[in-house]
Symmetry: C2
Subunit: 470 residues, 2 copies
Amino acid sequence: MSERVADYLAGQKGAILERLLALIRFPSVSTDPAFAEGMRGARDLLLDRLRGMGLTEVRLLEPPAGIPGGQPAIFGAWSGAGPEKPTIMIYGHYDVQPADPLELWHSPPFEPAIREGRIHARGASDVKGSTTIAFETVAGFLAVEGGCPVNVKLFLEGEEEIGSPSLPALIEAHRDLLAADAMLSADGGGAAGPQPALNIGCRGICALQFSLRTAAKDAHSGKVGGAMRNALHEMARLIASLHDDEGRVLVEGFEDGVPPLSNAQRAEAASLPLDETAWYAEFGASPFGDPAYTVRERTTLRPTVEVNGMWGGYTGEGGKTVTPAEAHAKLTMRLVPGQDPAAAQAAVRAHLERHAPKGVTLAFSYRPGGTRAFTLAADHPLRAAAAAVLRREKGGEPAVTRLGGTVPITTLFQEKLGIDSLMFGLASPDEDAHAPNEFFRLSSLEEGLRLWPMILTELGKLRAADFRRS
Amino acid sequence: MSERVADYLAGQKGAILERLLALIRFPSVSTDPAFAEGMRGARDLLLDRLRGMGLTEVRLLEPPAGIPGGQPAIFGAWSGAGPEKPTIMIYGHYDVQPADPLELWHSPPFEPAIREGRIHARGASDVKGSTTIAFETVAGFLAVEGGCPVNVKLFLEGEEEIGSPSLPALIEAHRDLLAADAMLSADGGGAAGPQPALNIGCRGICALQFSLRTAAKDAHSGKVGGAMRNALHEMARLIASLHDDEGRVLVEGFEDGVPPLSNAQRAEAASLPLDETAWYAEFGASPFGDPAYTVRERTTLRPTVEVNGMWGGYTGEGGKTVTPAEAHAKLTMRLVPGQDPAAAQAAVRAHLERHAPKGVTLAFSYRPGGTRAFTLAADHPLRAAAAAVLRREKGGEPAVTRLGGTVPITTLFQEKLGIDSLMFGLASPDEDAHAPNEFFRLSSLEEGLRLWPMILTELGKLRAADFRRS
């Protein structure tokens, strides 16, 4: 069944590419109200396409009023597989990053140019290419077979590039409409290329910003130096207290709930080889980190406390003899399975408060909450299905890996809708997403139009009940 | 002799005030080329006055070509006291700070307004008021007595507010013209008020700026966090290594050459009482610093290493999940007698280099050299003369104190011309120098016109040879 659909899609390649290019031509930049017309154009095109391919309930899901930056999501369903079959939510997003700096583009960002087998345009890789693969696969099934192997709910977000401000409320408001057994994401993942990897998890995140104060006002360092606390010295001492010489986090209670790495986790981490020397060389950096773990483990299975910004005092040209009274720092914590974001944030805050001496006051701000780490269980049907597809298409066992970064939708869908996600996108990490001259490979488009029919077919071999485990 | 001159100056008070106000009306802002006309106007007025009072060799000393910001100094001499009498350099400056922010002034900064016994104007306190007292005193002696008790060399700088960029070269170029036995400065000092203090020294200073690098470029904290050095963590660790918990400097070799405080130094430091509780309360700060020393000692007789600015990573609104590759810090070191600025700077630099781990590179910049601490020796004739004057005018022994800040001219005149300085200005610390609504007290003008005739008379009791000690 999937071969017929794949053959059909291969035959439609030209038409699918034309539709993808049409979608890319709409400058759907979600962060900037000046691009409202581009957002609207992309939505209209997608609504038309979803209706045209035979989905039902095609509509916009409007964001709740009053959330700045809120953008409607696009919904469409097909439920002809029947209640015994699983319902798969397919996730993608139609918004893109801004194209600045424009002067670095070799061709205009919203006029897709095909050069050397690559579509150069903003949004080609992130993520209109993979999103198109996903819904054109559904269209292929409906056209060739008159139906899909699974029930489908297509959900295309319009706020991914601005941090999904209204997504949690939007999901809450449409819990019944969005009910599904599992989620397949066109965003993220590493299905493309000769060494495919199953991304089966990602780290979580929480954040903290604080200001440190040592006096009511800055003072002249000649007048007070030697008898007044300097906010920058105190900030340095506090930040230095967070880690040991090898970068291990020293925050009491931060790792509460984190079990030691299992042999299975370590084996999975080793399944996608990493040339550590080349990895450090790419960044122009020296080896660093807890020697008890490999680089892959340090960056995906170990939590971090990271200062992203720190500042205070005089930072202009020349010098100023000031004893600063105030300093500031922005921190994010990457979390691993077992950590609660609020508890991790509280542990770091408590550490800072405990280490601040008398005469130093701290004021915290910035983002309560956070996102838990996500893991797709080893025995989850999504995982077996994707592994089977990759094994068949590529030969050999696919590597299993985790992202060091955070994909909030995975946790959000799990927490709000109780469904697990697999990232099965076709973008490759070298395609300059978020940067000038972003591109998407035509070979990835072709590969995706083979892989997606296979995975929907694979999932269609299962029953809905297979996803409903205790 | 000084009484007759003081009486004369008291009678001339109205005319002297008018001349001071005329000088203040010239906006002689040295840092901004837009005020060149104001600088020229102030110079012309002063040249006229010095010639009019009977000084010889009245002229501009032009700054060496090619030094940005260079401004001519004004020179005038009177040598009628004869070679047996000491030659006293009188120092002042005719340039002023910018008046910004203009909107905070209650009356225009260059239209002096007298309210409640205070002249409100930019430059009134710093330092046209005290400078006028100094040269009008010389004028008084010439008018009443036909001569001064000492030979006089008046030197009025035009670059004090911009850090005297060409002063060292200008002094070098005019060593013979500027030869003198001692220097009396109208800038600095605390002769005014009910509790006068002899400022007999100041701390020196040197500076250091450095950038720290951990990688060739910033990286995504999700991708690398846990396995890549963070420049902000490393900066924090380096800065934290400079001091212990109580603020003692931990830099090896930094205090080389600094003898333990003598009983005489400690007694002098105690001679001007300091209410430490009130002092900390003024800054809204908690007590801090090496408990082996009083606050007065910590701020005047102990050296410091002070971070004036520190920054790196993302410092804008919201957050950015970056692992920064670069961080920056600006440091100044306050120096005490016995410390060599270059050696102190080198010690701090060596400490930072020694404490930077492998994989962290440091790049240093900013201001080589520096200024040594200055001390007027206990048996220096300037000190005895000033003490005698204050004793007579105020009753009781004047306090002896040191500035925690740095007055580079004291060291410069000592190093280049071999002469020691006493700061004998009439400005008070509450007069908002460098700030909006700067003012100078009319009572300080009157007091200065009594004290300066007395100190020149006192110095006139000495022979030039008294200043030429081994």
